[in-house]
C-alpha cells in the first residue's frame, strides 16, 4: 500500500523562540510523486521537511501517515518509513562503508543483507571507489552523496532531501536526478527543498512555495513556475 502524508493546520515554534517557523500549513502528499519545496531563506523549508520526516512534532495541528497520527503511537516504527537527509550531512567515525551501514545496523540487518544493499546503492550513485575512504575526509559534495545513499539504502517510503544539489557537480546531479525519477517510479514519496526553482521544475510534479512559514503558492510544477516568473 502506498503512503499518503497529510499535514493539517500544522504550526511549529522552535523551543525558546516566540515566533512560528511554520504557520497553519495544510497539504496532502501522495506516493509516486516528487514535491519541491522552495522559498526565500528562513521561509520554513527545512522545518517543513523535518515535520514531514517526523523529526519535529508540530506545536499545533497534525501530521497523518495514511490517516494515522504517528505522534500518538509508536513513533519509531513510523520513522522507519521515512528518511531525512540534511543539507550539511554529518558523517560518523569510520569509513564510507561504515556510514552506509549505519541505518541498516540500527535496524538489525545481518552482514550479507548489509553488503548486498550497499553494493547496489554504491553502483547506482558511483560511490564504489569511495567505500574504504574515511568518511570525514570527503568533500562536501561527496558527503552529500554518501548521506543520500545512506538514506536510500534503507528503502524508505518517504525521502526528504534538504538542498541535495547544493554541493554536487553537474555529472553527479544528473545521476542523482535519475535516482529521484526512479524512486518516484517505484511509488516512493520524494520531497526536495531547494532554492533552485528551475531544478525543482525539472524534477518535481508539484511545487510548494513558502514565505514566512506560510504556503503562499502551490500547484503543479509548471504552473507554479510560470506564476513565479510573472510575479518577479
Amino acid at each position: 500500500m502506498g503512503i499518503r502524508v497529510e499535514l493539517r493546520g500544522v504550526s511549529y515554534i522552535y523551543p525558546g523562540s516566540k515566533s512560528r517557523a511554520l504557520k497553519n500549513v495544510s497539504i496532502t502528499l501522495r506516493n509516486g510523486m516528487c514535491y519541491g519545496v522552495t522559498g526565500p531563506n528562513g521561509s520554513g523549508k527545512t522545518t517543513l521537511l523535518k515535520i514531514i520526516s517526523l523529526l519535529y512534532k508540530p506545536t499545533d495541528g497534525h501530521v497523518l501517515y495514511n490517516g494515522t497520527d504517528p505522534w500518538g503511537g509508536d513513533i519509531t516504527s513510523y520513522r522507519k518509513r521515512v528518511v531525512y537527509v540534511h543539507e550539511k550531512p554529518v558523517m560518523v567515525r569510520g569509513s564510507v562503508l561504515d556510514n552506509l551501514a549505519l541505518g541498516l545496523r540500527i535496524r538489525g540487518y545481518n552482514g550479507d543483507q548489509i553488503k548486498e544493499r550497499i553494493e547496489r546503492i554504491a553502483v547506482k550513485l558511483d560511490l564504489s571507489p569511495l567505500l574504504d575512504r574515511n568518511a570525514r575526509d570527503l568533500s562536501a559534495g561527496q558527503r552529500q552523496l554518501v548521506a543520500i545513499a545512506r538514506a536510500l539504502v534503507l528503502d524508505p517510503d518517504v525521502i526528504a532531501l534538504d538542498e541535495p544539489y547544493s554541493n554536487i557537480d553537474f555529472r553527479k546531479r544528473k545521476r542523482l536526478s535519475r535516482v529521484v525519477n526512479e524512486l518516484r517510479g517505484k511509488g516512493k514519496l520524494v520531497v526536495i527543498s531547494s532554492h533552485d526553482i528551475g531544478l525543482l521544475v525539472s524534477l518535481c510534479d508539484y511545487i510548494i512555495y513558502l514565505e514566512n512559514g506560510e504556503i503562499v503558492l502551490e500547484g503543479p510544477a509548471g504552473e507554479v513556475y510560470r506564476e513565479l516568473l510573472s510575479e518577479h
Binding site: L55, T76, V83, L102, L154
Partner: protein, 212 residues
C-alpha cells in the same frame, strides 16, 4: 623525604580514582542536562563552580568529615579516600560543564541522524555517546589534570602524612617550606611532564579516532 616515584604513584592513584569516580556521575549528569531543557538552568550553576577555589572545597569537606562534623563517623579525615572524594567533588563541575557542551553538540548532530535512520531513543543516545567519546575523554582528562595539580583538598583533608596521604603538590609545598628547593623543582617538573604527557595522549586519541 619519601622517594619521588612513590609520591608520584600515590598521586596518580588518588587523582586517577577521583577522576574515574567523578566521570561516573558527571557524564550521565551532563547528558541529562543537555537532553532536557528543564534542567538547563543547572548548567550555569556547574559552570560557575568550575573555578571554585580548591581550599574552599577542602575546608567544606574538612567540616563535614571532622570528628564533630555530620560525616565524622566515617573516619575518613586524613585518609587517601578523603582526598579522592574531595578531588572528585572538585572536578565534577569541570567535567560536567565541558561534557555538557560536547553532548549538546553531539545531540544536535547525531541524535537527529540516528532518529532519521530509524533508531530508538536508546540507540540514538548510544550513537551520540559513541561519536562524542573522544571529546568526553578530553573532558575527563581535563578533570584529571586539575585533580592531580590541586593542593587545597589534598592538604586540608589529606593532612600531608608521610607514606600515606602525601601527594606531589603537598610534597612541593612542604619541600619549599623546608627550603629543599631541588626536591620541590624535581616534583614540579614531574607534575608538568604528567600534564603535558596526558594532554599529548588525548590529542593522539582524538586524531586517531577522527573527532569531527
Amino acid at each position: 623525604m619519601e622517594p619521588i616515584q612513590i609520591i608520584v604513584l600515590r598521586s596518580l592513584t588518588i587523582s586517577g580514582t577521583a577522576t574515574l569516580l567523578a566521570a561516573l556521575w558527571s557524564i550521565p549528569l551532563a547528558y541529562l542536562l543537555a537532553s532536557s531543557r528543564r534542567f538547563r538552568p543547572l548548567v550555569y550553576f556547574f559552570e560557575a563552580l568550575v573555578g571554585i577555589p580548591t581550599v574552599l572545597v577542602g575546608l567544606l569537606l574538612y567540616l563535614l568529615l571532622s570528628r564533630n562534623g555530620p560525616l565524622g563517623f566515617l573516619e575518613l579525615l586524613y585518609t587517601p579516600q578523603a582526598i579522592i572524594v574531595g578531588e572528585a567533588l572538585l572536578i565534577t563541575p569541570l567535567i560536567t560543564a565541558v561534557s555538557y557542551q560536547t553532548i549538546l553538540t553531539g545531540l544536535s548532530y547525531y541524535r537527529e541522524l540516528a532518529l532519521t535512520l530509524g533508531a530508538s531513543d536508546k540507540q540514538a543516545a548510544l550513537l551520540v555517546f559513541r561519536e562524542t567519546l573522544p571529546s568526553l575523554i578530553s573532558s575527563v582528562v581535563m578533570g584529571f589534570s586539575r585533580a592531580v595539580g590541586e593542593l587545597g583538598v589534598a592538604l586540608i583533608v589529606g593532612g600531608n602524612i608521610k607514606g600515606y596521604t602525601r601527594t606531589m603538590t603537598t610534597s612541593i609545598a612542604l619541600a619549599t617550606a623546608m627550603g629543599e628547593y631541588e626536591a620541590a623543582v624535581k616534583l614540579g617538573l614531574v607534575l608538568t611532564a604528567i600534564a603535558v604527557g596526558v594532554s599529548l595522549a588525548v590529542r593522539l586519541v582524538r586524531r586517531e579516532w577522527g573527532s569531527e
